[in-house]
């Protein structure tokens, strides 16, 4: 009996200690160097995960994983679909297992996204890449991966430095996946773009041409009304909207509805940022448009007013017969969209392959 009590007592003590684990300080040999994001002027505070604080070492590890096919059994890595030249997206459409064709979303200013994927089905950046271990992407063999990482000349040290993990093999497969993803998302959060011609113009470092100015007039006023969903400075409102692509909605075109099953979400998609839009064709969730001219013509004359839940911004009285933009105004709007291109971003060496 006595022994029984002692066992209970020990269990209780451990349970108590464990319940307060978050109070214990990290061991002295923990080497990770905290990293603070440099937030561009005029940007709001980024969304940082409390459970994944950024460190120099974590970012370094994440950058390697972003490029390293070691994670897959099919030679794939993130850059198989997220190309630097395309603002870390790519032109070929992704064929999902349900047959839907999906346009690859660029990696740009993700630290400010409150939701991920076209339908916003993933609310947390630090969980999004978990799907990449699955058969549609990397088809990862976890036990094989653990061995490869353990025997690798660099990864064990980096795991120690970034996460204070002495032996990768002691982690469960799930925990290891999560740590890999945490490293990658730390890297993703550093991928910030705020140095386009548009930004420089606002800082009065360059001037817009009269054509670009006119395009901005269309974008930023009632004339074209783009700002309501693609507003400054992120060039997205981070909201779900139906811009009227289809009058009849089926399959993946139902968008947000497939996540919430609310009728009023039918046809809504996460309004994307237009930063680097020149580099990320094809456009819309299903890549239905290949040029920006087509996109502008869609907003000018192709909006389906009878689309369920179409956004009220799309159907104001003055737009009844389309935006009514002249040929020049349409061309100028495209010119303005191209001022959102940030070549310093895609040429940033910090984001390039470390190998």
């Amino acid at each position: 009996m006595k022994r029984y009590i002692i066992v209970v007592f020990i269990v209780v003590v451990f349970a108590i200690l464990y319940s307060c684990k978050k109070d214990t300080t990290l061991p002295a040999d923990f080497k990770a160097t905290p990293y603070t994001l440099k937030i561009p002027a005029r940007f709001p505070a980024p969304i940082i995960a409390i459970d994944n604080p950024m460190t120099e070492e974590g970012i370094k590890l994440g950058r390697m994983f972003y490029y390293d096919p070691i994670l897959s059994t099919n030679g794939k890595s993130c850059v198989t679909c997220h190309f630097r030249e395309n603002s870390y997206s790519s032109a070929p459409l992704f064929l999902a297992s349900n047959g839907a064709k999906i346009s690859v979303i660029p990696h740009i200013n993700l630290a400010w996204n409150p939701d991920f994927l076209w339908d916003g089905s993933e609310p947390t950046l630090d969980r999004e890449p978990l799907a990449d271990f699955g058969p549609e992407f990397f088809n990862t063999n976890m036990s094989e991966l653990i061995q490869k990482l353990k025997n690798h000349p660099k990864y064990p040290i980096l795991f120690k430095q970034a996460f204070n993990i002495d032996d990768i093999a002691t982690l469960s497969e799930k925990d290891l996946q999560l740590k890999i993803v945490y490293a990658i998302t730390q890297f993703l959060r550093t991928m910030i773009s705020a140095d386009s011609k548009y930004d420089k113009m606002l800082k009065r470092q360059v001037n817009f041409t009269p054509e670009e100015m006119d395009g901005m007039q269309t974008f930023m006023t009632e004339r074209g009304d783009c700002f309501h969903c693609h507003g400054d400075p992120l060039m997205t409102s981070n909201t779900f909207n139906n811009n009227g692509l289809d009058s009849v909605l089926t399959g993946s075109n139902l968008g947000r509805y497939l996540v919430t099953l609310n009728d009023f979400d039918k046809g809504k998609f996460s309004s994307p940022t237009l930063r680097n839009i020149e580099l990320t064709a094809p456009f819309m969730h299903d890549g239905r448009f290949t040029t920006l001219e087509e996109v502008v013509e869609f907003y000018n004359s192709g909006v389906n007013w009878n689309s369920p839940n179409i956004d009220p911004i799309m159907t104001k009285p003055a737009k009844k017969y389309g935006l009514g933009l002249s040929t020049t105004q349409k061309a100028n709007l495209v010119k303005f969209l191209k001022t959102l291109t940030d070549t310093a971003y895609i040429n940033n060496k910090d984001f390039m392959s470390p190998f």
Binding site: D23, P44, D232, T315
Partner: protein
Amino acid sequence: MKALCYLLFFIPFLFTLSCKKDTPLPQPKVNELQLSIQYNIDNVSYVTNINKYVNQAGNHFSISRVSYYLSQIKLIKSDNSSVLVKEYQYVDADNTSSNKLIFNSIPIGDYIGIKFNIGLDSLHNISDALPTTMENINMAWPQMMGGGYHFLKMEGNFLDSLGQSFGYAMHLGTNVCLIPIMLNKKFTVSADSKLSFNLVMNINEWYKNPNIFDFNKDGNYIMGNMMLMKKITENGIDVFTL
């Protein structure tokens, strides 16, 4: 055996004690006044995305979004002097915390009312005048349209003359559309008093008194149309009751 029972009995206490520092004791607050903003539509309760409301013009409508700024929130003393308690506040009807305004350290005395603007006063209604938060940038009124912020965004659907569901967007802004509100209410603040009032917005008041606003006649969109924005501005005077 008894010992075990005692031990087991104390376990829950041990857990709570051991983690005590996670739950700080609530700080005593002095001279507090709390305003809880609530919504109704002519006495029908506010729920998003359900088409069940009827306005004065007879439009059947639903609401998907009500967000707005309040500014220069002042408590009026019985000698007509005023105490500024908040410069500005972003309110989203669907975000519970933004509808609970708590003011502390209110000077002791007799008060006769509360005053504020719907919208931002001209000092704050300038592009980039507010700190950049996700809410603020989504309320931005583009520089090219005069700059500043939307005062109000009210969106939803209505049934048009053909009985088809159609979106509306009541977006209000620009300095001339600032809506001054004065609500009479006698109250006394004494040492350590804790007052709590409900501030109720009747959303249907936006569409009546003095101007009947009809989505089918006036349209589903007002931003940038001064005549329509004025109609809504004038109607806004009595949307709140205290």
